[in-house]
Amino acid sequence: MSTDTGTDTTSTTGGPGAPTAARGAAGPRRPARRGPQRTGLAAGLLLTPFFALFTVAMLIPVGYAIWLSLFTQKLSGLGFEGPRNVFDGLGNYVDTLGDSAFRHGFWVLGGYVLFYIPIMVGGALALALLLDTAIARARRFFQLALFLPHAIPGLIAALIWVYLYTPGLSPVVSAMHSGGIGLDFFSANGALPSVVNIALWEWLGYNVVIFYASLQAVDRSLLEAAAVDGAGNWRLAFGIKLPLIRASVFLVLLFTIIGSLQLFTEPLLLSNTGSSITSAWTPNMYAYSEAFQLNDYGRAAAASVLIALIAAVLSFGVTRIANRKGARA
C-alpha cells in the first residue's frame, strides 16, 4: 500500500499529470486553421498512452486502495476458520485517526520538517548563491560534487549512513569517541537529526542545482545595473537575485514538503539497527507495518488515503500561497 501512497501523492504535486494536461488544453487553441477534427484525433492519439498508463498505474490502484479501506477482516473464536471480509464504512478511518501511533507519526514528521526544511532550503540557497557570485572558483567541480550524493539511490545512501552511525563499526563514531564526544546517533534524541542528516546529504545538491539554474537565468544586465549603482555582493544576493528566483524557491519548498510526508526508506532501515526508531515512526511506516507486519490491509489502505489527502491539502496550500506571492511580484 505504501507504493500506492507514493503514486497518490506524486499525482498531487502535479508531477507527471500537470504538464501533459496543460499541453492538452493548449492543443486545440493554436492550429485553428487545420480544422478541429484532425487536431482532436491527433491530440487523442498522443494522449492515449498517457491516459492508459495513468489509469492502470494511478487511478485503479488509488480506487482499489479506497475500496480496500472500507473493509475489515473479522476473525472469530480462535481464528481457525479464517477471516470474513466485512464492510466497515469509515471504521478504518476512525480507528486509524484514533490510533495514537498514527498521530504520533505526524508529530515526528512535524519535528522532522522543522529541522529539515529551513536547513535544506537555506543551505541550498546559500550554496547556490555562493556558486553564482563572481568570485566563485571551480564552479563545475562544486556543482558536480554537490550533486553526486543525489545520484546514489536512497536505499544505498541509508545503508552507507547506517554504517557511519553504528558504534563499534563506524570510523566517525570511534574518532569522535576518542575525541571525547560520545554522540549516539541511534538514541531517542539522536534518531531524528540522524535521519535529517541523511536526507540533507541526499537532496541538498539536487536543490542547489535547481536554484543555481534559475540564478543563471537572471538577467545579467539587471545585476550589472545594480553593481553600477553601488550594490555589493550581499546586496546583489538578497536584494536582487533572491526575489527573482522566488518561483523556484516555492517549487523546492513544495517538493520538500511532499517528500517529507513520504519519509520512509531511511527511518525503516534505521529501525532495524536497534535505534530508537519504532515500527510506526512516520505515517508511511505505520501504513507499511499495518499491511505487512500486522496483516491489516484495510487499516493500511485507510492510513495511505489519509496521508494522500493531507499531502493534497498541503500542496494546494503551498501552491496557493506561491501563486498569490507570484502575482504580487
Partner: protein
C-alpha cells in the same frame, strides 16, 4: 495457567476439537483433494516454499528417491525479510504453494488467520512419538495439529573458553552466577562484555521469559488467554533490566555488523543463542576456531534446568492446497528421514537439532565441531532439548512482537524499562486481538 487445566477436561476439549475438525474436513475437503500419490507416468506435483539453506538439495533428494510424488521448490526471502508477507499475500490470492516453511514464533499468526490446513488426522500418536514432545506441543493449538516440527532449537550459551579460562571465570549454571560472571568479565577487560541482549528481536526476551517458566498465550475455552506479565516474565524483566542498567551486557542488534565487529574484536566473549547458532557463529568468526565452547543456557534453578526455544522451523500445508496427503508424505519424509538431513547438510553448515531424535546421530556425524574444539555439540543439544519448558505457545498476532520490539528500542535507549514494556505489551496485544475479532481473555 495451563497447569490448572485439568487433564480430563483437556482430553474432552481435544476430542471435541478433533471431532469438529474431522467434520470440517469431511465438509470442505473430500472431493477436491488429489490422491496421496500419483503414478510414475502422472506423479502428483507438490509445491514448496522455504528459505532455509539446503532446501533445494532436500527437494532434489526427494525427487531422486520418489517417483509418484514430485516436489517443485521455490526459494523465498526469509520470513522477517518479506517471506511472511509473501506467504500471507499468496494465501489471500489463493496461489500459495502446498508446503510452507514457518518458524514457530509465527505459526499461530497463520493458524489464527485460517491460513493453514488442520493436520490432526495425519499426526497419529505413532507419528507424534517420532518427535520431541515439546515441538508437538508448540504446533498444537486448540487441540489440533497445525504443522510438523522440523527442528528443535533449545537455547545454548556459547562462550570464549580461552577468555573464561585465562581470567578464571566460573561457567555460570544459574542466572545469579551469570551476573557474577558478567561482572568478572567486565572487570577483567573493561571494554568487554559477557554477551549481548538483542534489542531488535523481541523473541530474544520472550525466549528468556519462556525459559523462566512464563506462558504468554494459551488456548482455553475457545479463547486466547493472554498474559505477558506473569511472575516468571516479571522476574526475567527485572533481571535483564538490572544487567542493562549496570552495563553488564552489550545491546547491539542481533547479527548486526556492530555485533559481529565486537565478536571479531573479542570485546563480546559470549553469545546467548540456540542449537542452530553454532554454525552461524563459526561462519562469522572462523579465525577464532578452537577458542569457543558451548554449554547449557543458565537457569533460575540449577537443580531443574529449563530453557526456551529460539526460532526453529516447522512445515505446514496451506489452506488452498488440494494435495494435503501428498504434501504430508513429503513433509514427514523431510522431518524424519536421514536422507533429508544428509541432503540439507550437504549445502548448509547449520547445526540445527532435528526435531526427530532418531535423526540426531545423522546430524552429529555430518557436522564438523572443530570450531568448538571437537566438543560433542549434539550430545549437549539433546540434553538441552529435554529441558525445553513445555508450557509455552507463541501468540496469534504480530502485535505482541511489534509492541515489544518498539518498547525494547526505548529500553536500551533508557526512556523506558523492561517491566514497563511488558505491561504495555499486554494491553496492546489484548487490544489488537480483540480488534481483529478473536475471542480473548485478558489473563494478567
Amino acid at each position: 495457567m495451563s497447569h490448572s487445566w485439568s487433564r480430563p477436561l483437556r482430553t474432552a476439549v481435544g476430542a471435541a476439537a478433533a471431532f469438529v475438525s474431522l467434520a470440517v474436513l469431511a465438509a470442505c475437503g473430500g472431493a477436491a483433494q488429489a490422491p496421496a500419490e500419483g503414478t510414475k507416468a502422472h506423479p502428483v506435483t507438490v509445491t514448496f516454499w522455504a528459505w532455509t539453506k539446503g532446501s533445494q538439495q532436500v527437494a532434489d533428494e526427494f525427487n531422486a528417491t520418489h517417483d509418484t510424488i514430485k516436489v517443485k521448490f521455490e526459494e523465498i526471502p526469509s520470513g522477517g525479510l518479506g517471506g511472511y508477507p509473501k506467504i500471507a499475500n499468496a494465501i489471500k490470492a489463493g496461489i500459495a504453494p502446498d508446503v510452507l516453511s514457518i518458524e514457530y514464533p509465527s505459526l499461530a499468526q497463520f493458524v489464527s488467520q485460517g491460513s493453514l490446513k488442520d493436520l490432526s488426522s495425519y499426526m497419529t500418536p505413532a507419528v507424534k512419538k517420532e518427535f520431541l514432545p515439546q515441538t508437538i506441543q508448540l504446533t498444537t493449538m486448540g487441540g489440533r495439529n497445525w504443522a510438523v516440527p522440523s527442528d528443535a532449537s533449545p537455547q545454548i550459551f556459547y562462550y570464549r573458553k580461552d577468555f573464561f579460562t585465562r581470567h578464571h571465570i566460573a561457567l555460570p549454571k544459574t542466572w545469579a552466577q551469570f551476573r557474577t560472571a558478567a561482572q568478572q568479565v567486565k572487570k577483567a577487560a573493561p571494554g568487554t562484555r559477557i554477551a549481548t541482549f538483542f534489542p531488535d528481536d523481541p523473541t530474544f526476551f520472550q525466549t528468556m521469559a519462556w525459559g523462566a517458566g512464563a506462558s504468554w498465550f494459551t488456548t482455553k475455552n475457545g479463547a486466547w488467554q493472554v498474559d505477558t506479565t506473569d511472575a516468571a516474565t516479571r522476574k526475567t524483566a527485572a533481571y535483564w533490566q538490572g544487567l542493562i542498567d549496570a552495563g553488564l551486557v552489550s545491546t547491539a542488534p542481533s547479527y548486526s555488523p556492530e555485533w559481529t565487529a565486537s565478536l571479531k574484536a573479542g570485546t563480546t566473549v559470549g553469545y546467548l543463542g540456540a542449537s542452530w547458532g553454532a554454525g552461524t557463529l563459526a561462519g562469522i568468526v572462523p579465525e577464532e576456531k578452537g577458542k569457543w565452547a558451548a554449554m547449557q543456557m543458565p537457569s533460575w534453578d540449577a537443580a531443574h534446568p529449563s530453557v526456551g526455544m529460539s526460532q526453529g522451523s516447522t512445515f505446514a500445508v496451506s489452506k488452498n492446497s488440494t494435495k494435503t496427503a501428498a504434501a504430508m508424505k513429503f513433509i514427514l519424509w523431510m522431518s524424519t528421514s536421514p536422507d533429508s538431513v544428509r541432503a540439507r547438510l550437504s549445502a548448509s553448515t547449520s547445526t540445527a537439532l532435528p526435531a526427530a531424535p532418531a535423526l540426531v546421530p545423522v546430524a552429529r556425524k555430518a557436522i564438523d565441531t572443530s570450531f568448538y574444539g571437537g566438543q560433542d555439540l549434539y550430545g549437549l543439544y539433546e540434553k538441552a532439548g529435554a529441558t525445553i519448558d513445555p508450557d509455552w505457545l507463541w501468540g496469534p498476532t504480530a502485535a505482541a512482537n511489534n509492541t515489544l520490539r518498539d518498547q525494547l528500542h526505548g529500553v536500551v535507549g533508557g526512556s523506558t524499562t523492561l517491566p514497563r514494556a511488558i505491561t504495555i505489551t499486554q494491553s496492546a496485544t489484548v487490544a489488537a486481538l480483540r480488534g481483529s475479532g478473536l475471542k480473548v481473555e485478558d489473563a494478567s
